[in-house]
């Protein structure tokens, strides 16, 4: 079996980097890690087609010159699936971020507040310093911080904005809200 050494090295680097990034706490990095590992796997499938050749299926190519089409088909399917899953993950990360910032109360804000918080959400995505700022502001504004979580969130917000759903105080708050909703 012949395979391009470049592709093999590229695949190995992507696997390694992907696994390394996946081990981070922040969910956005987990997503990046997933994308890297997913694409490394796609490359692995591609490498399995063996020696290079001319396009398959196109008329006029002799069978001997064709490259194996099956891995390409498998890859295409895998790419589509990865795309869908990434979209879902992004939505979940956004939701997790939203809950970390506003708790479940974010869902029940009045229209006026929703507009404000949506603006702040936009701000927060612009840059990490803006992000910190927006977090601090949104916390102050809704007086969500009962002294236990606001500092922590503000300090780690940039790095950990999605992962901070783990912060204990927030979890309690959202649990309480969930109960209220019932």
């Amino acid at each position: 079996m012949s395979a391009s050494l470049t592709l093999v090295i590229l695949m190995a680097v992507m696997y390694a980097a992907g696994v390394y990034v996946m081990l981070e706490r922040s969910l956005t990095r987990v997503l990046i890690g997933f994308l890297l590992v997913g694409n490394a796997t796609n490359l692995l499938i591609f490498i399995m087609s063996g020696r290079p050749g001319s396009s398959p299926i196109v008329t006029g190519t002799s069978v001997e010159d064709m490259v194996d089409p099956v891995p390409q088909v498998l890859m295409l399917t895998a790419i589509v699936i990865n795309f869908g899953i990434s979209a879902l993950l992004l939505a979940l990360i956004y939701r997790s971020w939203w809950l970390a910032q506003l708790g479940d109360e974010g869902d029940t804000l009045t229209d006026e507040h929703t507009a404000e918080s949506a603006e702040e959400a936009d701000d927060a995505f612009r840059s990490s310093s803006d992000d910190d700022h927006a977090i601090a502001e949104s916390i102050d504004e809704f007086e969500r911080g009962d002294g236990t979580t606001s500092d922590e969130d503000a300090a780690t917000g940039a790095d950990n904005r999605a992962g901070s759903a783990d912060a204990g105080g927030r979890a309690d708050a959202s649990a309480r809200d969930e109960r209220d909703q019932r």
Partner: protein, 535 residues
């Protein structure tokens, strides 16, 4: 008749599309999803009858012959899995509908629930009928994507938190599976199960080992086999009760099915017997020891779920036709009983207001029907004669003693101990939740509840809700099904014995997919890798 094979996958998908469009009209939605799952149940029953009398049903999708096209194969094992999962899906759907009617659909966004649930069903069916590894992967992805949505239904903080753990773990196992497929393709030049089965024995032993281990790990994560089982007890109990029930009953069993299928087809010489034995013993022990410490019924049940996967692995590890037959019987038993128990736990949650044993009490008086449902299910899971749990375990142990290695006796000992501890954990739950008078719950001190650990997500509330007759009816019919497995254990075990006869030698499967033999499939210039050089 073979047209039913693709139809059983397409019908729930069509149902999903229709229910998605009917988002605002809940009654029609319910009607469509109940109808499509009923049809799927009927179709799988017909398929089982057909396959059992005539032989495996093979469909070459789009007229492209295997190994070039996608091939769908339903043999007895697939048909049994199809029928039992269709029945479970239908029962749980009725429970969910009952719960939705009582709650006025306020908690769960039901417009999403039905389509997602049907996609989950389609993914399950697809994984069971898949005749090649990649179609199986696609089936897995369908059911997993649906399960991601179902687990995080409502998007509350707790569900998002555990949902993300579950999703990341599942994604890693999916990527491992995909890598395994790539390597299998590289080594054998095909993804069709039957052709891999034929070519696998010709590969060098070390390459077989790598491929086998990769597949085992990928499926092991999904089946919650011991070192890869940590995610399950954290993620399942947080979902809504019907979702937990269907996950517990079916999702882990897809992993078991995939292990069973690949082990019997690709590695019939039991290369992996010893590691599987060790992992099976550890899964049983670690799982049940975890269950002993839980105060929350749903978490307790999740740990017993992990633990009992060990029995199925034990059966696969023995590998004799009798053991495979016992494993299939055990899978069927475990799917029904675990689903029943989780539904019963859902009922307890509603009538008792919590699932924590430290706050439940007096349910025998206040909800006698739920008490009976839970009690019979618990006895069944614990392996009390004459229930099907006892019969399944006896069959497994018997298969073990026939082989007679010392390790078999160790495993049988561990299995018996696990069964005893399961009974202990469930009997304690029964004592505390049902038998203990309500007024004793406060300031209750007893050595049996001293070591219990609360669910970390527990909010310490007691919030009772009404129970609709439909929910109780669905749970009761599940229970009747498990009792049916006991009463008709003879004919069912005969059926699983025939199914095991199907798969205990790969040649039956290969002949079904390639009736004209595989001689005409010469290694094309493409995809023939390793070029035999290393053989």
């Amino acid at each position: 008749m073979t047209a039913l094979v693709p139809l059983i996958v397409c019908l729930p998908l069509l149902g999903a599309a229709i229910t998605l469009m009917l988002g605002q009209r809940r009654r029609l939605q319910v009607l469509v999803s109940v109808l499509s799952l009923t049809a799927a149940t009927v179709m799988s029953a017909v398929l089982l009858g057909f396959v059992d009398t005539v032989g495996p049903a093979v469909v070459q999708v789009g007229g492209w012959d295997a190994p070039w096209g996608i091939v769908l194969v339903v043999d007895r094992l697939s048909a049994i899995m199809l029928l039992i999962s269709a029945l479970m899906l239908l029962g749980v759907l009725l429970f969910a509908v009952g719960q939705g009617i009582v709650d006025g659909d306020s908690e769960a966004p039901v417009s999403i629930f039905h389509p997602t649930y049907l996609v989950l069903a389609a993914g399950l069916f697809n994984a069971f009928v898949a005749g090649d590894l990649f179609t199986m992967y696609v089936g897995f992805e369908m059911l997993l994507s649906a399960s991601y949505v179902l687990l995080t239904l409502g998007g509350t903080g707790a569900r998002i938190r555990v949902g993300i753990t579950y999703i990341v773990v599942s994604l890693i196992s999916s990527l491992l599976f995909l890598s395994a497929i790539a390597l299998v393709y590289g080594a054998t030049g095909t993804v069709t199960l039957a052709l891999i089965a034929e070519r696998m024995p010709d590969l060098p032993a070390d390459i077989q080992l790598i491929l086998g281990l990769l597949l085992l790990i990928a499926f092991g994560v999904k089946a919650a086999v011991f070192p890869m089982s940590f995610w399950l007890p954290d993620s399942y109990p947080t979902a809504p009760a019907p979702v937990t029930a269907v996950f517990a009953g079916l999702l882990t069993k897809v992993g078991v099915y995939a292990i069973l299928r690949t082990q019997t087809l690709f590695f019939p010489d039991d290369q992996f017997s010893m590691p599987l034995m060790i992992v099976a013993a550890l899964t049983m022990l670690v799982g049940i020891l975890g269950a002993l410490a839980q105060a929350d019924i749903k978490r307790l049940l999740s740990f017993t779920l992990v633990s009992h996967i060990g029995y199925m692995l034990f059966g696969i590890a023995i590998g004799t036709p009798l053991a495979i037959a016992a494993t299939i019987f055990y899978v069927v038993h475990h799917i029904t009983v675990q689903t029943t128990l989780f539904l019963a736990a859902g009922l307890i949650d509603r009538v008792g207001g919590t699932t924590s044993l430290s706050r439940l009490g007096g349910l025998l008086k206040s909800a006698p029907l739920v008490a009976i449902l839970f009690f019979l299910g618990a006895l069944n899971l614990g392996g009390i004669p004459p229930f099907s749990g006892f019969l399944g375990k006896i069959a497994l142990f018997q298969a073990g003693t026939i082989v007679g290695d010392p390790i078999m006796y160790v495993l049988i000992g561990v299995g018996a101990l696990t069964s005893l501890l399961t009974l202990y954990a469930l009997a304690r739950a029964w004592n505390l939740a049902f038998w203990r008078p309500k007024k004793q719950v406060k300031d209750y001190t007893s050595s049996i509840s001293a070591s219990l650990v609360e669910d970390p997500q527990d909010e310490g509330t007691v919030l009772t809700k009404t129970v609709s007759p439909l929910m109780v009816g669905a749970t009761a019919s599940m229970l009747i099904l498990t009792l049916g497995l006991t009463v008709f254990a003879g004919p069912i075990f005969d059926l699983t014995t025939r199914a095991a006869g199907n798969i205990s030698s790969p040649s039956t499967y290969i002949d079904a997919v390639f009736p004209n033999g595989t001689g005409s499939i010469k290694d094309s210039n493409v995809g023939t890798n390793f070029e035999g050089g290393s053989k």
